[in-house]
Each structure stands twice: as structure tokens, then as C-alpha cells.
């Protein structure tokens, strides 16, 4: 089995088989991470650059750890303290790095489509670690892996994606992935944060009522309010947002069944999620982070022979 693609630019252009292959390979890497020596030699002849044009904690550490546990050589790049501040373009920066014999590029960028642009211009394998408001494919893969681990499969699972759908690349990738794998998706949030034609365009349901949505779902994937991407007032205050769309322990306890609560991080405690929900046993936020390393190892491993 091989992936149908040379790059991981988004979930949009993956097949169902690609997704299944990544998830089943990740299961084997999760076993590697339980061993006394949490490292395999598979990528010891591969050099990877992590290019982060936008801030990140989890994703950057997770990729770096995944690369090191595959024995790859790793170089890290962030825009502060680099020649980007002197005006070097993305393509020039990457070509300069590639001339030092780098095989794979992990890119995070605030411009949607930046990894797609690079893939058309350079020979290395590109992995999208989040581009603007477009996609964050490895996040969706690790979310799916976590759901599968908890519930056994994805087909027929009811997933609610709650919050700032409009500005969220995590929601885009999750919607592509979950609908491809046969899960049912409902998006929930204030009307100003949900794109108008999302139902027609992506085959998901829309519900503006949080309680109803939570009563329906098996899994609630709660998104961060992305204040840095909002250039106009889309809700009146964080406090009001919390009252209408914040997930609280009381709300969870009032539901008919126990649901799983996910969040891609970083969490605004007391805004989209209350502190006691985050720390409750229904929350799988830290398992998501743990699974992220195994899933990224699978992606890097499966793309590593397509680098020439």
C-alpha cells in the first residue's frame, strides 16, 4: 500500500484509503512510543526542515519529536531571527534551504495555499502544518485517530464541531476527513462565525443551539476562538460567548449520555471550555497531543520515499 500523493497538502485531496493507511500505520507507531527505546531507524537518511512562519507550540514540538523518533535529521526555522525579516521571499528561503540537501519540508504559514504553491515549485515533499484558514491536515488525522481509539471506528460516529468555524483550518480538515470516512458532522456556533453555505458546500448540518447539538453528538470537538484572525466584531464579548457557546461541566452533566470532549489547543480556559471540563475525564485533550506524535510519524514515514 502507498499513499496516492507525494505531499500532504490537505485532507481534501486524500482518498479514503490514504486516510485508513495513515491511521493504521499510526497505530504501529503508537506501539513504538511505548517501548524503552522510543525510536526507529526508518528515516535516518532523510533531512527535514520545519518552517514555521506562524507561532505554534504543540504542532512544532510534535513534528520535531516525530522526526527525531524516526531518526531523521532536523532543522528548525522560525521567522523571527531569520532573513525573512530582511525581506527574503518564501520561495527564495526554501530554495536556499533545499540547496543544503533537505528532503522534506513541514510548513506552517498564515497564507492559505502557501504549501500548495511550494509543492508546485520545489522537488521536496511538503507537509502542511496549517495554512491560514484553509487546512491543518495532521490535526484532523490525530483527531480521527483519537476518536477511533475511543469509539472503535469513524463510520456513523456523530461529531459536533463547535465554535469559530469561519476562521478555523482545523474545522475544514476535520469536515473533509470525517465526511469522507462516513461520520456525521454538525457544526455549531454563533451565526456570525459559521459560513453561510456550509451545509450545501460540505454536507454537514448546522445547529445554532449548543445544548441540542451536545445532546445529539458522541464527540464534541470544541475550537478556539481565534481573536487574531478576526478583523471585525463578530460577537459582543468573550463573556457573552461563554454564556451561549462555552461548554461547562453543568451542561455536560445534564446530557443524556457521556460524550467525549476534544480541543485542538491552545485552550482559552473559561471562554470556549470551562476549566473543570478540560480537567474532567471526558476530556481527551492530552491524549490528542500524545497521538499527534504517532500520527505525524506515520505521515512522515509514508511520504519519505517520494522525496526525489
Amino acid at each position: 500500500m502507498q499513499l496516492s500523493t507525494r505531499h500532504l497538502l490537505g485532507i481534501k485531496n486524500l482518498t479514503k484509503e490514504d486516510i485508513s493507511l495513515i491511521l493504521s500505520t499510526a497505530e504501529q507507531f503508537k506501539e513504538v512510543l511505548q517501548r524503552p527505546v522510543k525510536k526507529v531507524p526508518s528515516l535516518r537518511d532523510v533531512t527535514i526542515v520545519n518552517l514555521f512562519y506562524e507561532s505554534s507550540t504543540r504542532t512544532r514540538f510534535s513534528f520535531e519529536l516525530a522526526e527525531k523518533r524516526l531518526s531523521a535529521d532536523v532543522i528548525n526555522f522560525s521567522t523571527s531571527g531569520s532573513s525573512v525579516s530582511k525581506g527574503e521571499t518564501l520561495l527564495d528561503t526554501v530554495n536556499n534551504i533545499l540547496s543544503m540537501k533537505v528532503n522534506m519540508v513541514v510548513l506552517r504559514h498564515s497564507a492559505s495555499g502557501a504549501p500548495h504553491f511550494l509543492a508546485n515549485h520545489i522537488p521536496a515533499a511538503i507537509i502542511n502544518a496549517g495554512d491560514g484558514i484553509n487546512e491543518h491536515p495532521t490535526q484532523a488525522l490525530l483527531d480521527a485517530f483519537t476518536i477511533k481509539e475511543k469509539l472503535g471506528n469513524l463510520n456513523g460516529v456523530k461529531v459536533a464541531i463547535i465554535g469559530d468555524i469561519m476562521h478555523s483550518r482545523v474545522s475544514m480538515s476535520n469536515i473533509y476527513l470525517l465526511t469522507k470516512m462516513g461520520a456525521k458532522v454538525t457544526v455549531c456556533g454563533p451565526p456570525t462565525l459559521i459560513p453561510k453555505y456550509i451545509r450545501e458546500a460540505f454536507g454537514v448540518e448546522v445547529n445554532y443551539n449548543l445544548k441540542e447539538t451536545l445532546d445529539w453528538c458522541d464527540v464534541a470537538n470544541v475550537l478556539r476562538i481565534q481573536l487574531e484572525r478576526q478583523d471585525q466584531v463578530l460577537f459582543s464579548s468573550l463573556r457573552e460567548y461563554n454564556l451561549a457557546y462555552g461548554v461547562s461541566k453543568n451542561l455536560l452533566d445534564s446530557l443524556k449520555k457521556e460524550i467525549i470532549v476534544m480541543h485542538p489547543g491552545p485552550v482559552n480556559r473559561g471562554v470556549e471550555l470551562d476549566s473543570d471540563v478540560m480537567d474532567s475525564k471526558q476530556s481527551v485533550i492530552l491524549q490528542q497531543v500524545e497521538n499527534g506524535v504517532a500520527v505525524r510519524m506515520a505521515v512522515l514515514y509514508l511520504l519519505s520515499n517520494r522525496t526525489n
Binding site: 502507498q2 493507511l21 504501529q28 513504538v32 524503552p36 527505546v37 526507529v40 531507524p41 526508518s42 519519505s304
Partner: protein
């Protein structure tokens, strides 16, 4: 396709290997048996089942090992990994690696690399069904062999379900 060992001959070989292993390991508490994916796992399951019958008082430990992430030809083709399952500690134990066919020795070299990432066994032994001795590329020999055969380099020898077959391309 030519049958090298029929189902009956295979059963006899497995019994012989189990008897040999039983004779050389008086205390099975310090021994673990590890089959290499995929043919070795089938074989290990059958050998340990016989061993368990011969030793009803002691538990026979059986695990599965996958070498996919440790292959030395990984750039030729990315293969999908099989399950890895060692549900016991190998530290200071005798590990008996079990594989269906010993050919170039590269699989065994990779399997030793995998094992050492799990701990430091006191001793590692190798038990194989078929030895294709003249094609060895590494200095690796088996401690228990059911059958040594002469083959061409390009031929394939495989354990398929109940039989061992020789495939000529």
C-alpha cells in the same frame, strides 16, 4: 510452484523443532519465543502450542515481532507495518527468534536491532524451518533448523497456510 513440505511433513518438522527446543530449555520461565512477521508468526504459534502441550505446568511465552521500520532497503519501497506485540519483559531472558525461512540473513539482523530496543536479553537463539544456506549475506546461523535446501537466488520459498512451497519466477 513446487511443494517442498506437505501439510503432514510440516507438522512433523514442527514437532521435531518443538522437541529440540524443549530438550535444550529445561526452565521455560526464562525463555520467550518470538515469531517474525508474517511466516515466522504462524510457525511460532504452532511450535509454542506443541511446547505448551509438552509442559503443562509452565506458561510458554509467545510474541510477535515486525521489522518493517528497521529494513535496510526502506528507500526501495515503503511497506505497511505489521503488528508488533511483545507482552513480556525480555531483559535477561533467553529469546528464541522464530522465522519460516533463513535466506540472506538481513531479516534476522533487523530483528536483532528491534529486539535490542526492547531490552538486553541474556541470549538470543534462532530457530528456522527452512535454511537456504548458500545465499547468506550476513554472518548469521540458525541454532535449530528443520530442513536445509538448495535453491537458486531468484526463487522464493514461502510458508503458505499448511504447506511450504518453492516459487520459481
Amino acid at each position: 510452484m513446487q511443494v517442498l513440505l506437505s501439510a503432514e511433513q510440516l507438522s512433523n518438522c514442527i514437532n521435531d523443532l518443538a522437541v529440540q527446543l524443549n530438550k535444550s530449555h529445561s526452565n521455560l520461565n526464562n525463555v520467550v519465543f518470538v515469531g517474525i512477521q508474517q511466516g515466522g508468526v504462524l510457525l511460532a504459534n504452532r511450535i509454542t502450542a506443541v511446547l505448551q502441550k509438552l509442559n503443562s505446568t509452565q506458561k510458554v511465552h509467545n510474541g510477535q515481532l515486525d521489522i518493517t521500520f528497521y529494513r535496510d532497503d526502506i528507500r526501495k519501497e515503503i511497506l505497511t507495518p505489521d503488528t508488533m506485540n511483545l507482552p513480556f519483559d525480555i531483559e535477561n531472558k533467553t529469546v528464541v527468534l522464530i522465522d519460516d525461512v533463513l535466506f540472506t540473513g538481513r531479516t534476522i539482523k533487523a530483528a536483532l536491532d528491534v529486539l535490542l530496543d526492547y531490552g538486553r536479553p541474556a541470549k538470543v537463539e534462532l530457530c528456522v524451518l527452512i535454511d537456504r544456506k548458500e545465499h547468506r549475506q550476513f554472518p548469521i546461523q540458525a541454532d535449530y533448523v528443520a530442513k536445509t535446501i538448495q535453491t537458486n537466488r531468484t526463487e522464493k520459498v514461502k510458508l503458505i497456510k499448511e504447506e511450504v512451497v518453492l516459487i520459481t519466477q
